[in-house]
């Protein structure tokens, strides 16, 4: 390689390395406070007290959904591995909202209750036909209700 090309190669590689380090450090620093959501147990341990509005993420507790008969008001409980949080929401819910579904609610705390202004449903990265899911659920007798509609990657994990 001739000296001119060698010099250019050095300069280009040095600039690229500098950019990678700068952005790598930024990403690393953002990891502390770029969390998209808090889980019920994080909220209960006080991690979200400095935020007026924040996102709450977790799974809808099976059987906890209660709809008001005369309005769009819905109450349900969001759970994660170590906590549970009652949520109140008035509005239209996404198609995927159901028992055992991962959801992300935006809102604020009102005493021990979370008042949501927006509820988003999260789905996992698994795709399969319904028949296959039913067959797998049948093979898992007993655990099938727990697993319906959710993969192993819950919202609560970072």
């Amino acid at each position: 390689m001739n000296p001119v090309r060698k010099r250019r190669l050095t300069i280009v590689v040095a600039i690229l390395a500098a950019a990678a380090v700068a952005i790598g450090l930024t990403v690393f620093a953002l990891q502390q406070n770029m969390n998209y959501l808090f889980t019920p147990s994080q909220v209960q341990s006080g991690a979200a007290t400095s935020y007026k509005t924040f996102r709450l993420g977790g799974m809808v507790k099976s059987g906890s959904i209660q709809r008001a008969s005369d309005s769009l008001k819905v109450t349900f409980t969001v759970i994660d591995a170590g906590g549970a949080m009652p949520v109140e929401y008035t509005g239209i819910l996404p198609d995927l909202f159901r028992d055992n579904q991962s959801v992300i609610a935006t809102g604020h705390m009102d005493n021990a209750r979370f008042i949501a202004t927006e509820v988003l449903a999260k789905h996992d990265e698994t795709y399969m036909p319904k028949e296959l899911k039913d067959a797998m659920a049948a093979a898992h007798q007993g655990r099938k209700i727990d697993e319906a509609g959710n993969g192993e990657r819950g919202t609560g994990n970072p």
């Binding site: 690229l16 790598g24 909202f97 999260k122 996992d124 795709y127 036909p129």
Partner: protein, 252 residues
């Protein structure tokens, strides 16, 4: 020149040879792309079963995911070509880098639009500032920046060199887009198709997806061939080989 690089690489790097090679390859690539896209879309929209969770709405994946892969893949090609252009000043590498940018930007745009259309019914929102969505938007801006910078210079080669720098530095965003779903809590789900380990998709749904991936790659190559040919003619306007082509075309 380094002698460990095979001779045909040097040969293919010469504009008149690449012009002829790309002209011969283009119709084949385009035909294969159309065939693969027809097969993939038929497989995805008609043959594949509906999803246990999302019903038929998941079928937008057959456009969304291949486009998203291409948005990253083309950026990678553009960055490697930019690197070669900056260090070795190979004219063909400059042209490949600069002509990849609009195709990549188009795929990124398709990714964002289809993702938004998919997000509204499933997640309940068109857009959210989570790490995956935001980094993909940054990718679109990087593409637009490269295109803009290239055209901001009077001299094309000078513009290409400046834009190549931006393209090269922007490569650090590519792993961020890919790993964002693992590094942060995001609304976007993790990767379905995995190179290492089994994919999280039934085979009846996976093959149309992989066929669409092949179709988008072939389309990119075909599109690159015609774009590079046109650019080479413009760039080498005064050269003998271009004059010969012009004369042959004129006498027809």
């Amino acid at each position: 020149m380094a002698n460990w690089i095979p001779l045909w690489v040097h040969k293919l790097g010469s504009p008149p040879l690449f012009y002829r090679f790309a002209g011969a390859a283009r119709p084949w690539l385009l035909a294969l792309a159309v065939l693969a896209a027809a097969g993939g879309l038929y497989g995805g929209l008609v043959l594949a079963p509906s999803d246990y969770q999302q019903g038929d709405a998941y079928r937008i994946i057959f456009i969304h995911v291949p486009s998203a892969w291409m948005s990253l893949f083309i950026y990678g090609v553009m960055a490697v070509a930019s690197f070669v252009a900056l260090v070795w000043r190979v004219k063909l590498a400059e042209v490949v880098a600069m002509e990849s940018a609009p195709v990549g930007a188009a795929f990124t745009f398709i990714t964002l639009v289809t993702g938004s259309l998919w997000g509204k019914p499933m997640w309940g929102t068109w857009w959210t500032w989570d790490a995956r969505l935001t980094s993909e938007l940054v990718l679109l801006f990087l593409y637009l920046g490269v295109i803009g910078l290239y055209h901001a210079f009077e001299d094309r080669r000078q513009g290409a060199r400046a834009a190549a720098f931006l393209a090269l530095i922007g490569i650090v965003n590519v792993p961020i887009v890919h790993f964002s779903v693992n590094w942060w809590n995001t609304l976007h789900q993790g990767s379905t198709v995995r190179i290492l380990g089994p994919s999280k998709m039934a085979p009846s749904m996976l093959w149309p997806l992989l066929t669409m991936m092949a179709a988008t790659k072939l389309y990119y190559l075909a599109s690159l061939c015609s774009r590079v040919r046109a650019d080479l003619l413009a760039l080498e306007g005064g050269k003998d080989w271009v004059r010969k082509i012009a004369e042959a075309e004129g006498s027809r």
